[in-house]
């Protein structure tokens, strides 16, 4: 995307001092959004939903499909024009940055909640389905269920994450726990039982052996051995649903958790202590998603159907930051399209 570069260069020429403060970010923020009030099949929404990319001026620009049911997003690390989107209709795929799309899956795979491109083998893609896990080895052209070792029932899968350092290792967050495959989905085993759905799994960008998972009823859990064993994280409440966890790629000691009930919880000492960071957010919290900008360390919170909020001090203060009346399903920071 040339215009932002030109803009920054012009800015730098005009205001040389600005250059130091406005280094060209390496990533673009892309979010999947349901805009406006609840969508009912059969109605025509006045709001554009789907994928939004943040421009250099901070505003959000819709691109690709106007579609109300987009959830997880994953981008091919070799080509940032290739997006895989978990959606109500299945896995949507674009190979040209959103100009054209194909529903990659068929009728037998519906409502995936999450999607991940394998960074070790980018032709391979996984989707988290309400009834299990499927894998494509050909960039989403064909799909095969990979469920050996998952329970016949209890394999509702909300989240999927791939070990970026060890090929073939994938963790799936299901209704009945966290499941691990070490052979690219040929077989799974449960590494943590849970009483309700695992809502998110993340691998630390600083320590590939450290993983964290948010759950609906079992609090925040973490693993220090690559996902083999898990322990609860003290200091984070567990009575109500935690929707996701986000590491700060710029600071290994900072981690944030998003929750409808508890709002934003953060740690700045690597997880030893946690603080409630809701001052400045709307009352009632209703945080559906948090994310951390890998370039700036800025913390974002999607407050359900109110707005996106951002914090430059990791939650101590918040300001509204666009996307009014939206529900933000995912924050993605993709290699900048320059």
């Amino acid at each position: 995307m040339a215009p932002p570069v030109r803009f920054l260069l012009a800015l730098a020429a005009a205001f040389p001092a600005a250059l130091a403060n406005a280094a060209i970010p390496a990533h673009d923020m892309v979010v999947s959004v349901l805009a406006g009030p609840a969508f009912v099949v059969g109605t025509k929404s006045a709001f554009e939903s789907g994928l939004f990319r943040r421009g250099p001026d901070g505003s959000f620009h819709h691109f690709g499909l106007d579609f109300p049911g987009t959830f997880g997003i994953s981008v091919d690390p070799r080509d940032s024009r290739v997006f895989y989107v978990a959606s109500l209709n299945g896995c949507l795929i674009t190979r040209d940055g959103g100009l054209t799309w194909r529903i990659g899956t068929s009728w037998d795979m519906t409502e995936p909640q999450d999607v991940r491109v394998d960074p070790n083998s980018p032709d391979t893609v996984y989707i988290a389905l309400p009834d299990g896990v499927a894998q494509s080895k050909d960039r989403g052209v064909t799909w095969t269920r990979r469920e050996r070792g998952l329970p016949e029932r209890g394999k509702y899968t909300q989240a999927i994450e791939i070990d970026r350092n060890r090929a073939g290792r994938v963790l799936a967050g299901c209704e009945t726990g966290i499941y691990l495959t070490e052979n690219a989905g040929r077989s799974w085993r449960r590494v943590l039982p849970t009483s309700e759905t695992v809502t998110d799994i993340e691998q630390s960008p600083h320590d590939p052996r450290r993983w964290m998972a948010a759950t609906q009823a079992d609090g925040l859990v973490q693993s220090r051995d690559g996902g083999l064993t898990w322990r609860p994280v003290a200091g984070v409440p567990s009575a109500k649903c935690l929707y996701n966890v986000a590491f700060d790629p710029t600071n290994p000691r900072r981690i944030a958790v998003g929750s409808w009930t508890y709002g934003v919880l953060t740690t700045e000492d690597g997880g030893a202590t946690w603080a409630d960071r809701n001052a400045g957010l709307p009352a009632g919290h209703c945080v559906y998603r948090v994310g951390v900008d890998p370039d700036s360390g800025r913390l974002y919170a999607g407050v359900h159907q109110v707005s996106l909020y951002q914090s430059g001090d990791f939650g101590r203060t918040w300001t509204p930051d666009g996307l009014p009346q939206s529900r933000i399903y995912r924050f993605n920071f993709v290699p900048a399209a320059r």
């Binding site: 349901l34 406006g36 009030p37 609840a38 969508f39 009912v40 099949v41 059969g42 109605t43 025509k44 929404s45 499909l65 106007d66 579609f67 109300p68 049911g69 109500l88 209709n89 299945g90 949507l92 795929i93 054209t100 799309w101 194909r102 529903i103 068929s106 009728w107 519906t110 409502e111 909640q113 309400p130 009834d131 029932r153 209890g154 509702y156 209704e175 759905t197 809502t199 609906q216 109500k240 649903c241 929707y243 409808w260 009930t261 709307p282 009632g284 209703c286 559906y288 359900h304 159907q305 109110v306 009346q325 939206s326 529900r327």
Partner: protein, 636 residues
């Protein structure tokens, strides 16, 4: 309250089908000669006579006349000066009548400038495309085609959504073969779309004809199956798909016929709505009963969507055997059916649990139920007694009890959703009563039901902490002689039926907004027994009451509700919450429940084969061989 966003993948129902009439014309200053008043539309006209039409040609002519009335009514409302009146259904009505093709073409082009999303936009577009094949301008046809490439259609997540979505995709892919993926919103070629749609439709028909329909006996959503199946049976070029559509229509309408009392579809229903759960007439099923059987007024504005069905209805001929099942109420009958729950993503050992449905039909009343539990998370109606009335419009001719449920756990069982946003979204959107304690709509995990002919026992064991810790009993303002007897029974008369209602825990009366009454019983361990009888069986209501009070009845609520009683029909029933009911000492064996079992509809589980019988008439729908076989047995 903060608004919430949630995908409520629920059919739009009536709101999307609202018929808007054009503004009244300005009255001329010169008095016009007195005009002959136009006949009232059927939904406002007197109740049609319930005489059985014996002659096939007369029946067919009457059916086509009703079809014609719907189309004429809609076409007359359409006024191009007021685009809101000239919607897709008006275009379909006019095209079906082969009138105003140029105006229709203009309107289609307008409509296609802003295509909708999802199955409720797709099937009307298909109707316009096919009805307009030889009438619409090339530009109008091109506009329809282009819309199928420009807007990603939402597939939805319910059985009715997918029936509409995939039938529509199938027919459009068929209409435009050999076109590349780049020209379709799916990104798939015509052939890929056709194959995917066909595969799903065959799969859906397969499970429906082996383990039962999920959205069984829907009062409103019936139209969202009937229209696509009619379109499929009318326009599919593949003979196999065409006959599949036709057979599925017969299957749906046979089910409707067997479950209607003078055209009213009563409980149980996988899905219904707040209005029709108490006023059964007020939903799309009444349109189909009117159109097909001619024995009830249609719902207002023909349900809106009825216009789409009417636009191709000349291509369907109701088998006589189904007609006679619908209109013959001379003999009492029990029909037992197997259905299935909505797909359960979580919290269940099975993807779709079996529904064991019982229906007892008599001339003056009907009793229907399934075994309790949740068939669908929001709109299920588990059981009721419904009595016949001369004119069902505005009449709440039913009695039942239920546990009102508002539960994220239940919603998460069936929806791929998070726990916190769902209930506010339900309230904010199209299910406003979901979180109200005084509602009458919905089913509960904490209700168990057993029915033996016209006896229903409903038991409740509601855990402490449940959001609404009470049960609601519906008592219509149309009941007469309501008496709270010292025996503990409540006696009443509804039409020509006597009704006895026995609350098993203390209760109080609460008013409802429309003048009916709610029996409110705030006890976690609870129960209801209802016994019905024909008024002709007793000298009067008091005699009925004495007979009921004399029945052996023992019950307890701890540790779980249990009832042991002799029914009015002399059966000894023992029913304990969570245990298999026992009748005359024999446990009910649900494992032997057939897909259909009764005098009219019969099918083995897993058979893909339904036998429809009435008198000497028999039709067999065999999805194994894709054959429809009609036969008439001799009178010997």
């Amino acid at each position: 309250m903060k608004a919430t966003a949630l995908f409520l993948f629920l059919a739009v129902g009536l709101s999307a089908a609202t018929i808007v009439e054009p503004p009244a014309p300005v009255r001329a200053s010169v008095a016009a000669p007195a005009a002959r008043p136009a006949p009232l539309p059927a939904f406002s006209a007197p109740v049609p006579p319930r005489t059985i039409v014996q002659d096939a040609d007369t029946r067919r002519a009457a059916y086509l006349a009703r079809v014609g009335e719907v189309l004429a009514w809609k076409a007359k409302l359409a006024d191009i000066r007021f685009p809101v009146t000239f919607d897709a259904s008006a275009v379909c009505a006019k095209l079906a009548r082969r009138e105003d093709p140029a105006v229709c073409s203009r309107r289609v082009i307008e409509l296609m400038k802003n295509p909708g999303t999802g199955p409720f936009w797709m099937f009307p577009a298909v109707g316009m495309a096919y009805l307009g094949r030889d009438q619409l301008s090339p530009e109008a046809k091109a506009a329809i085609r282009a819309a199928w490439g420009s807007v990603m259609q939402v597939r939805g997540d319910t059985e009715n959504h997918w029936a509409m979505y995939y039938t529509s995709l199938y027919l459009m892919a068929q209409l435009y073969p050999n076109e590349p993926g780049s020209s379709w919103y799916t990104g798939k070629s015509s052939e890929e779309n056709l194959a995917e749609a066909r595969d799903y439709l065959v799969h859906w028909m397969d499970i429906t004809t082996t383990i039962g329909q999920g959205e069984f006996n829907p009062t409103g959503y019936i139209t969202e199956y009937a229209i696509p199946m009619l379109f499929l049976s009318t326009w599919a070029r593949d003979p196999a798909m065409r006959i599949r559509g036709r057979m599925t229509l017969d299957w749906l309408f046979a089910d409707l016929a067997a479950n209607t009392l003078n055209g009213e579809l009563r409980g149980s229903n996988a899905r219904t709505v707040d209005a029709s759960v108490v006023e059964h007439w007020r939903d799309h099923a009444s349109f189909y009963s009117w159109l097909l059987f001619g024995n009830i007024p249609p719902n207002p504005s023909f349900g809106g969507f009825g216009v789409y069905f009417a636009s191709a209805a000349a291509n369907y001929e109701l088998p006589e055997v189904i007609y006679r099942i619908a209109v013959d109420r001379d003999g009492d009958y029990v029909q037992r059916d197997l259905k299935r729950t909505r797909r359960r993503w979580r919290h269940s050992d099975v993807l779709a649990a079996p529904i064991y449905k019982t229906s007892y039909m008599r001339r003056n009343y009907a009793v229907g139920s399934y075994q309790g539990g949740v068939a669908d998370p929001i709109q299920t109606h588990t059981w009721d007694v419904t009595w016949a009335v001369p004119d069902p419009r505005g009449v709440t001719n039913t009695m039942f009890s239920m546990h009102p449920v508002s539960s994220p756990y239940d919603l998460q069982t069936y929806f791929a959703e998070s726990p916190d946003s769902m209930i506010p979204a339900m309230v904010a959107e199209r299910k406003p009563t979901y979180d109200l304690p005084d509602k009458f709509l919905g089913s509960s995990r904490f209700e168990r039901v057993f029915q033996d002919r016209d006896t229903v026992i409903a038991l409740y064991d509601i855990p402490p902490g449940t959001r609404f810790p009470h049960i609601n009993g519906f008592f219509s303002k149309f009941l007469s002689g309501v008496t709270q007897d010292k025996s503990g029974w409540i006696f009443a008369r509804g039409g020509n039926a006597y009704l006895a209602y026995r609350p098993l825990a203390a209760y109080e009366w609460r008013p409802t907004p429309k003048g009916d009454r709610r029996l409110y019983s705030p006890h976690l361990k609870n129960g209801t027994i209802v016994q019905a009888a024909d008024a002709g069986e007793f000298a009067d209501l008091a005699a009925f009451g004495r007979a009921i009070a004399a029945l052996r009845l023992a019950y307890s609520l701890e540790p779980v509700p249990t009832v042991s009683m002799r029914t009015l029909r002399g059966r000894d029933v023992v029913f304990t919450y969570g245990r298999t009911p026992v009748v005359d000492g024999v446990p009910v064996d649900y494992s032997k429940w057939k897909l259909y079992e009764g005098p009219y509809l019969n099918a083995e589980k897993g058979s893909r084969r339904l036998t429809i019988t009435h008198g000497s008439l028999r039709r067999v729908l065999d999805f194994n061989t894709l054959t429809i076989s009609d036969s008439v047995t001799s009178g010997r």
